[in-house]
């Protein structure tokens, strides 16, 4: 393993991210900001939602923000770089196994996803404060779950980015990301689906469900009606490994003809 080359690849991505910092910040924070404001402030403030909804909503917004950022941060550059300009070629020719080029993308996307998720907390603190109750009983477990969530997001970004052409980006977001978010238990807990027995089973194939429920379990334990923690952890690990393997395979297929 050539660490020097790996770090240089990370440095390249960090450099490009620094150059596009403002764009990156808008892209990462605008959406969670709007969600927190509309659902947490407007809906609760006007009395359409009870005040406890603020705390229930926050982990879901966090999960969504992490997944969206993680997928976007890996998939979008990859789709562009694998286009006919083959911008990625120089990195594929670096003296390091090409799988590590993909792993580097995943690591960088994971970090972006974590930042996007963690930033939701202070954001919500400012906007939602009176009435927001977070109890992080086990910071270690919370961070571990956050890491797994950011992990499957960027691995998913790798798999999608190596499977989707530029002309299908819009389709990818409307067909994959949108249903994933709405059926991802982000705006409601999984227990709210009890009255739809079939739907509540189907959504279990959605990794975002475990992300939302896992963060809910560790951030707002005052809502005890979540999926069992052991199941959440197992499924998150399964999705991390599965999407990484699929992503690496797609990446190798895409980079060597």
């Amino acid at each position: 393993m050539n660490w020097k080359a790996f770090l240089a690849l990370l440095a390249r991505d960090a450099h490009v991210a620094r150059r596009n910092l403002i764009q990156l910040i808008l892209q990462t924070f605008l959406q969670p900001l709007l969600f927190v404001f509309i659902f947490g402030r407007v809906m609760v403030g006007s009395g359409y939602m009870p005040a406890i909804y603020k705390s229930l909503l926050l982990p879901g917004i966090m999960a969504m923000s992490m997944v969206f950022t993680g997928v976007w941060a890996v998939a979008m550059p990859l789709i562009a770089e694998f286009q006919f300009t083959r911008e990625i070629e120089d990195r594929l020719l670096a003296p390091i196994d090409i799988s590590w080029v993909a792993v580097e993308k995943v690591v960088f996307g994971l970090m972006q996803g974590l930042v996007a998720g963690m930033a939701v907390i202070p954001l919500a603190w400012i906007i939602l404060r009176p009435g927001l109750e977070l109890h992080i009983a086990s910071p270690g477990l919370f961070l571990f779950i956050a890491l797994l969530v950011a992990g499957f997001s960027s691995c998913g970004g790798l798999a999608l980015g190596c499977s989707v052409d530029q002309q299908h980006i819009g389709l990818m977001f409307s067909m994959v990301m949108t249903p994933m978010i709405f059926f991802g238990c982000t705006y409601y807990p999984w227990s709210a689906l009890k009255m739809f027995p079939i739907l509540s089973k189907i959504v279990l194939i959605n990794p975002l469900v475990y992300a939302s429920e896992g963060l809910r379990a560790t951030l707002v334990p005052q809502f005890p009606d979540h999926l069992p923690l052991a199941a959440i952890l197992v499924m998150l690990i399964v999705f991390d490994v599965l999407l990484l393997l699929v992503g690496l395979r797609q990446f190798r297929n895409k980079s060597v003809s």
């Binding site: 020097k4 240089a8 450099h15 006919f84 911008e87 070629e89 120089d90 594929l92 020719l93 060597v256």
Partner: protein, 337 residues
């Protein structure tokens, strides 16, 4: 002596349309976007040996298999069968080690559009483990040598084709690789930039580096290469120094004749009997190619002989011994067709 580049029995069959940069034959792509199952034999048993320090040329028309050969040697295309080595490293078994030995200039500029010219060079150096001082010094030197200094700190997105090409080549030389691959390096360059490019290639070669370049330009192959392989339909059809190759054309001169009427077997036979003519062959319904030891002095005899047979000579094109004629001789097709 060990070869710098060696391939044995290299074959490549694409099951789908090959990537454009690999230059394979175009697949019959339907309007629906569905690609019919096609098998394209891009390489059909390529054996190459390039000595260290040599400038070696792969010459052939578009789709001959040049880029696929380069692709396999540079880890970008997986061979269907056969082996390829860079120095002592098997390209497909010891990929990382092989990648350390090579610099690659692809047929189309594949620059990192998010970076400036200088950053492209510096990051490339970093991938190859150069120290930070070393890489900025070397980038500065190369930018200067490639006349890019005044645009060095701009994003390459806005560069012209020629400038992108220069950045690509500078990048490939950045880590001072033992073997440099240049795939059609001078396509789309103006004559002035082309001369600069040739100079830079020769200069790099003088440091003892091996260079493999592909081209369909005879002049370029003639001017730069010490050895050439002529490649067509995935096979090497001739190999040697430019001089040897040219000497192998029967007669040396090529006279392309066109007649007013369709030619006859008798005409071709008579033409073949003219003094100095080594070969006469039909190249169309009313066209004949003559390979001969002399050029213009044959014309009066041809005219006289043809009119004796009641045929009128309508057009003549004489070319001196060249690689172009060589290609034509071996394949029956012109390089540019």
């Amino acid at each position: 002596m060990n070869s710098a580049i060696r391939t044995r029995e290299l074959r490549k069959v694409y099951n789908s349309a090959p990537p454009v940069a690999a230059g394979g034959a175009p697949a019959g792509k339907g309007k629906t976007g569905k690609v019919p199952k096609v098998e394209i034999r891009a390489l059909d048993g390529i054996d190459l040996d390039v000595a260290p320090g040599q400038i070696f040329g792969l010459l052939g028309p578009n789709g001959a298999g040049k880029s696929t050969t380069v692709g396999i040697l540079t880890t970008r295309v997986r061979p269907t069968s056969g082996t390829a080595w860079i120095g002592e490293y098997d390209v497909w078994r010891e990929q990382t080690a092989a990648k350390r030995q090579i610099g690659v200039v692809a047929q189309r500029p594949n620059l990192d559009f998010s970076l400036t010219a200088r950053e492209i060079l510096v990051f490339h150096g970093a991938y190859f483990g150069l120290g930070s001082h070393e890489r900025s010094e070397r980038a500065k030197e190369l930018l200067d040598r490639f006349k890019l200094t005044d645009r060095a700190d701009q994003l390459v997105r806005g560069f012209s084709g020629g400038m992108m090409q220069r950045v690509s080549i500078a990048r490939a030389m950045m880590h001072d690789p033992k073997v440099l691959f240049l795939d059609e390096p001078s396509v789309g360059l103006d004559p002035q930039t082309r001369l600069l490019l040739w100079e830079l290639i020769r200069e790099y070669n003088q440091k003892g580096r091996t260079i493999l370049l592909t081209t369909h330009n005879m002049e370029e192959a003639d001017a730069l290469c010490e050895r050439l392989a002529i490649i067509d339909h995935g096979r090497i059809i001739a190999q040697g120094t430019p001089r040897e190759l040219k000497a192998s054309i029967p007669g040396g001169y090529l006279l392309r004749l066109r007649f007013g009427e369709n030619h006859t077997a008798a005409l071709i036979e008579e033409l073949g009997r003219l003094a100095g003519v080594t070969e006469a062959r039909a190249s169309g319904e009313s066209a004949v190619d003559l390979y001969a030891g002399r050029g213009g002095s044959l014309i009066p005899e041809i005219v006289g002989m043809a009119s004796g047979l009641g045929v009128e000579l309508s057009d003549v094109h004489i070319s001196e011994p060249s690689l172009e004629n060589l290609f034509l001789h071996h394949t029956g097709r012109s390089l540019r067709e």
